[in-house]
Every structure is written in C-alpha cells, then in structure tokens.
C-alpha cells in the first residue's frame, strides 16, 4: 500500500508496524544461505558421523580462519564498489619476507613478525589504494597489474628458494598451532579481528563512511566525505589483512614458497559473494561473510570426508556455490513477493 508520506501519524501507525516486521525478516538477507548450510551439514553428518565431532569442527574453523579474515577485508573493498585481485600475491610476499626474517633472526618475537607482515601488506594495499583513489585507475585493472608485480617480486626475493619448517623457530610456527585459552590462535585472531571490525564498521564514523562511499559516491562528495581517503584506507586494510594472513599462512603450513596462495583471491571473493556482499557496492554484512566463509570451509572439509572422488570435487564445489547463490536469490525473491502479496490494493 502506498504510504502517503505526510499524514497524521496516528492513521499510519499500525500499517507501519506491520511493514517493519516484514522488513526485519527481509533484512536478514542470508536466510536462504543459512538454511542451505544447515541442510548441507545435516546431509554430510548422515553420511559421515565424524563430521560434527568436536575435533572436526575445530579443524574446520581453524582452516577457515584465514579465509574469513581475508573475506572481511574483501567485503570492505567490495562495499566501496572495488575489487582486489592482488591479495594472493600479497599473502605470498608478506609470508616470504616474514619467513626469511625469522629464519635469519630466530629469536624475533612472533608479535614483531606479525607486525612486519601487516606492514608489508599495508604497503602493498596502499599502493593499490593510491593507484585507485589518487590516480583513478579501475580497481580490477590496478589490482590485476599489482597481482603480477607482487608475485614477481616474491619470486625475486626468494631467489627460487623455499623457507622450510626447520628454518623456522618454534615460536613462529606456534603462532598458528598454539592455543590461547584452549582455542587455536588462528581462531582467536580471527575472532578478535571480527569483534574489532564489527565495532569499527557499525559504531564508528569511518566505518559508516566506507558504506556511504559505496552506496552513493556522488552524495558522499556532497556530504564532505573524503572519498579518496576512504578508498585508500580500505585497500590498506585489505592489504594489512593479506599481510597478516601471509604470516599466518606460512606459520600454519611451516613453509614459505613463491607461489603461495596463488589464485586464492577468487576463493575469498567467492566467500564474500556467497555471503551476499553486493559487487555493486554499498551493502555487505559481517554475518553474511561469516556464513560465506563457513560454507566454503564446510565444502573443503566435507568433500574429502565423504570420500567423494577427487575428480568430482571441483565440479561439486562449483555446483554448490551456484546453487547456494541461486537459492539465496530465490528466497529473497520469495520474501519480496510475500511483501507484495500483503500489500492492499
């Protein structure tokens, strides 16, 4: 029913309440995805009962932690209508430098190594940011080019060598394997970052400005938001996360190579997309990317558990990703339709 905007508020009250309840359901845009994940989990559990065991869930979350950190950064980038294809290379670069550093300075404190990785990543991200925000290159082109450049640099500085676990001090390897309060450090780091960014995104001015820039860049200008600075910030954050992930990655696998995380950017983007982040910018929620990352994590974990032929795994993953986004779309459409049905004409 059309709302005649300026009306005495009494006559419109009940109607407004009704729509806002519907709107609340609609607001949880990842409803379809959540349902999909639950059904998938049940199906997997029926086939292999160790799936929902504590140990497996722990493994699954540990393995998904890095992905989810990256997805958070990518969400911010996507929200500003951008994309970052260079993160796989940034991961490799920061991981390689960090590994080389610890192999030389064995006694370096892990926190410093993490900081080093973050700084390297932020520099990479800031380069992207300058190209995009200051020079005005399209994100996809700028980051595509930097993807090549960062990867090339990684190969150069590694000189074709890998850094192996025996060269890494125990303190470094335990970044990824150690626990805090009985929880794996990777999970702890991811949770801390998520809490921090939940706060930044939803409760600080800068966080909201990121969404404003993505939602309508022109009005952002009119509101006096410095678009360039926001973009720079977002790419620097993405880079910082990639740098951090590089350290975590190398620590987790106890090996640093030139081709680490090659092509991983697409996995990260897939997690965001599954989580309902819009490529067109402006919208994307933390709850969504958590679900998106979890779905990918489940796929990576469950397919081997189900004894699926390795040659079918890629195909099944692609199919499930497609089906999941399509189901989510259909559910959203259903909610919209439902809203319409209830409208009185």
């Amino acid at each position: 029913m059309p709302e005649n905007v300026i009306q005495d508020s009494t006559s419109i009250q009940p109607h407004a309440e009704k729509t806002s309840k519907l709107a609340n359901i609609y607001k949880f845009r990842e409803l379809g995805l959540l349902a999909f994940i639950i059904i998938l989990s049940i199906a997997v559990q029926l086939r292999n009962s160790s799936f929902l065991s504590g140990e497996n869930i722990n493994d699954m979350i540990t393995n998904t932690a890095i992905l989810s950190i990256l997805a958070l950064g990518m969400m911010l980038v996507l929200v500003t209508r951008g994309i970052d294809l260079s993160i796989g290379s940034t991961i490799a670069l920061s991981g390689m430098v960090a590994a080389q550093t610890v192999s030389t300075y064995q006694s370096l404190h892990p926190i410093l190594v993490i900081l080093l990785g973050i700084v390297i990543g932020m520099v990479c991200g800031a380069i992207n940011g300058v190209l995009i925000a200051k020079i005005g290159l399209l994100p996809i082109i700028a980051t595509l080019a930097m993807m090549n450049i960062f990867r090339g640099i990684t190969f150069k500085i590694s000189g074709g060598e890998w850094i192996s676990s025996y060269q890494m001090p125990e303190s470094f390897v335990s970044i990824a394997t150690g626990t805090t309060f009985g929880i794996n450090n990777l999970i702890v780091i991811a949770i801390v970052i998520y809490l921090l960014f939940f706060y930044i995104i939803n409760h600080t001015r800068t966080g909201r400005q990121i969404y404003a820039v993505g939602s309508n860049p022109d009005s952002a200008k009119v509101s006096g938001i410095k678009e360039g600075r926001i973009l720079l910030l977002v790419y620097a954050i993405m880079g910082g996360f990639a740098g951090l992930s590089g350290v975590l990655w190398v620590s987790k696998f106890a090996s640093a190579q030139g081709d680490t995380a090659s092509g991983y950017e697409l996995t990260v983007i897939a997690a965001c997309i599954l989580g309902g982040v819009s490529i067109a910018g402006g919208s994307g929620k933390i709850s969504g990317i958590i679900l998106g990352s979890i779905l990918l994590g489940i796929l990576n974990n469950a397919l081997p558990l189900l004894n699926v032929s390795p040659f079918w795994q890629t195909g099944i993953q692609g199919l499930i990703i497609l089906v999941a986004v399509i189901i989510n779309t259909l559910v959203k459409r259903g909610v919209d339709r439902n809203n319409l049905m209830r409208r009185k004409i």
């Binding site: 059309p2 709302e3 709107a23 969404y211 049905m341 004409i345």
Partner: protein, 503 residues
Amino acid sequence: MSDYVLELKGITKEFPGVKALDNVHFKLKAGEIHALMGENGAGKSTFIKVITGVHAPNEGDMFLNGEKVQFTNPKDAQKKGIAAIYQHVTNYPDLSVTENIFMGHEKIQKGTKRLLWKEMHKEARAFLQDLGSSIDPKSEMGSLSVAQQQIVEIAKAISTNAKIIIMDEPTAALTARESEELYKITERLRDQGASIIFISHRFEDMYRLASRVTVFRDSKYIGSWGVNEITNDQLIVAMVGREITQVYPTKKNKISEKLLEVRNLGKMGYYADISFTLHKGEILGLTGLVGAGRTEVCQSLFGITSYDRGEVYLKGQQISVKNPKSAMNLGIGYLPEDRQLQGLVLDWGIGRNITLPALKDLSSKGWLNEKKESTLAKKLAEKVHVKATSIFDLVSSLSGGNQQKVAVAKLLTADLDIIILDEPTKGVDVGAKSAIYEIINDLAAQGYGIIMISSEMPEILGMSDRIVVMREGRITKVLDKKDATQEVILEAAMSEGKEKEVG
C-alpha cells in the same frame, strides 16, 4: 552586522566548455523565503553548489552575515549553518534513514569515538515526527518512496541546525497535497528563524511561499523583486526572455475511432481492475497521487513489466506485449518518467539518442547507415526544437527541458499509434513546458492516441480530453473534460474507497 545573512557578489563558475554562472549576485535576508527561478540550465543548481562549497567559484565573493567566507568543501558550509537539499538524489540507498540524516555530523561519544546509535535513532524519529511523518528511522533509505526520501532530506537539513536552508526543486516529485505539507514545514522553519532559498519551476510554489524572487537566465543574474512587485507575465519575460501568451495551446485534435482498450488489467501488489479506452487523436490524462500505480500500469502496456490478469485490445485485436520492442512494433511508445535514468544515454550525442529506438530502420541487414541516421536525427531534433548547435552535442550538456525534447524526439522515430507520456513536464521550465505542450497537441492532431500521466492539476485540466484518476492501484474515476474540476479529481484521488486484498 549586515542586513543580509547571505550575500554573493559577482559569482562566475565555468565548467570545461560551459559558463554555468556569469557574474551573478544574490542577497538573502534573515527569516525570508526567497524563490530562485529561471529556465532549465540557467545555473540555479550550480549556484547552490557554489554556496554549499561543492563547487569553488572561479570569481566572486561570498559573505555570511557580512563576513567574507570561502568554503572549500561542503563540511565548511555545514559548520557555518548552511544546509541544502539537492535537486538530484544525494542519499545513500543502502543505509538507514538515521544514517542518512546524520551523515557528516554524527553524534559521537567523546573519547571512544563510538557512534551513539540510540540517541541518533531517537533524535531522527523526533525530527521525522516533527515533520509529521512516521517513517521508521531504522528502515533502509532505498526502500522509501521518493516523497518519503524528500522528507528525510528535509529532516537532514533540520538536524544540522541550519540557519540557511536551500531546497532545490523539492516539489518536483510531489503531488499538490504533499507539496502543501511541504509548504507548511517550510513556513514553520522560517518562523523558527531560518532563511530559506527555494528553487522551483512551479509558480504556485513561489506565490504560496516566497516573499522575494530572484531570476537567472542563461547563467546571468536578471533581477530580484518582491513577489508582489512583479506580475506573472513580467516574471515569465524575465525568465524566458520573451512573452508566452498562452501556456496551454488551443486544441486542434479530432477524436475518432477506438485505438486501445484495456480490460481488467491487474498485477499483484501493484494495481487491479484497470479498464479504460483510448481513441485516435485523444489526449487521455492519467492522474492520481504519487505512487498510485500509474507508472506501473503504463509500463505494463509498454512491456517493461508484466501483468498477471486482464486483456489489452489494440484496434479490436487482443495483443500481448512481451517487451518494449514488441510494444513499439505494435505501435505503442512510452516516454519514461525519469529521463536521466530511463530515457536517455546522457553521455551520448543528441543524434545517437534519438535514433536508438529506430536503428533497425536505419540499417540494411544490420549494417548501420550513418548518413541516413544523421539526417533523421537532425530532422527530428529540429522538429521538437532542441536548443543545441549540432546533433553531436552531448545530451548531458543540455538543460532539463531540452533533454526532455530529445526524449520526445525518440518517440517520433517509430511508426506509432499510441504515445504514453509519463510526467512529460516534470522539472521543466515554463518555456520548455509550453513547447512540450505544443508538441503533444501537434501529435494528437496528427492522430496519435496519447496517454499523459501527470500529477500537476493545471496541466491535466489544461491538456486532457478525458481524465482517468487512480488511487492506490485502482481507477476511481473517469471524467470528461467538461465535468472535470480540481475538486472532483482531488476527491477521487484521495478519498477512502473500499480496499480489497489482492493476491
């Protein structure tokens, strides 16, 4: 202290290739509502953006309470108590109403820098209620109707405690009734001590609200008058540079056989039981409040959206319109409501825009004949009197009225029987308006059947042969020209009819 809260002297603003403002003056007294008028492209919006610091002027000075100021960005202006509601939507569709209101001056806890959501929601609700609206501050901006968004924009201006509020064509998207509410709000703001600059192409707005009026023409300052010091005709001359004797041209059209018959058309959630007829040479006015469903009905006839019930007959034959192309092949054309989004390719030239619907006729076996294209484009652009130098001028460089003329010219490429015009004069100045009316009348005289959607009462009354009134997705009244009065139409558009669940 000066007499004027705001004074601008000798403002010049150039864009590459365009001088949008040429040595313009303006004075705003405390507590007045000052109308700013002028043709499309006269430079009004640009002027506003200079005031608010969006554009830096090339020359000229600005004084605030007698004190010289220079804004380098909109925030400076905001801090000095200037707020603007811009002509084109400048909101954030993905963000909540509260955020839209407080963007740029959020409430922040000192120290932690945390946003105080609760306070902001509460305050936003209060602002909106103050404006007589019950919009939920937590709802998403994009889900609101245009009029609701307008209210939010006003709430935003109020929320900054602005002393100077500028409204750039706030009534363009509103109906008479909604405009009336806006007038009241505006007056209340004035009574509370704000000074207001009000831009509009509607004379009603000016007479109803303003005490002074300033006119720009072709980027130049023409003059300022007290509203009572100047006659309507003088004002028009000031704006257009010539006299317009008659806004609504005399009719020359002859109504003959039935062209279109719509029977019981319905689309779940949008409209229901729509039945009407259209004859050759007839101008059928379609009116109602904003959101009454007029656009939806017409877009269904044009194949943009589907309908799920009812039949459409063209010259006695039942037709089904699958897409706009098939509608055009059947002889139905549609001039969209939003010309920038739906009507035109803004950074294309005039010529290419005009020929876009007719490419098939301009090509043999898909091969485009550019010579033929230029000829046709030139012919049609001249036919609707587009003001430009060549058919390669970018449409984005044209004023609103001229853009609309280009959009109309597009319709003339096809071999049509029926032309649907959706708010053809929205945001168009008087001069262009009367030109567009002239074109519409010509078309009717040539035997086109015309459906004209309009929310402007005088236009509907002045132009239509018959009038269909819609309310909440249903037709409430069909009137002959001779029976139509403002009161009858308003009543049909607003009275509470019985409601039925559709679905």
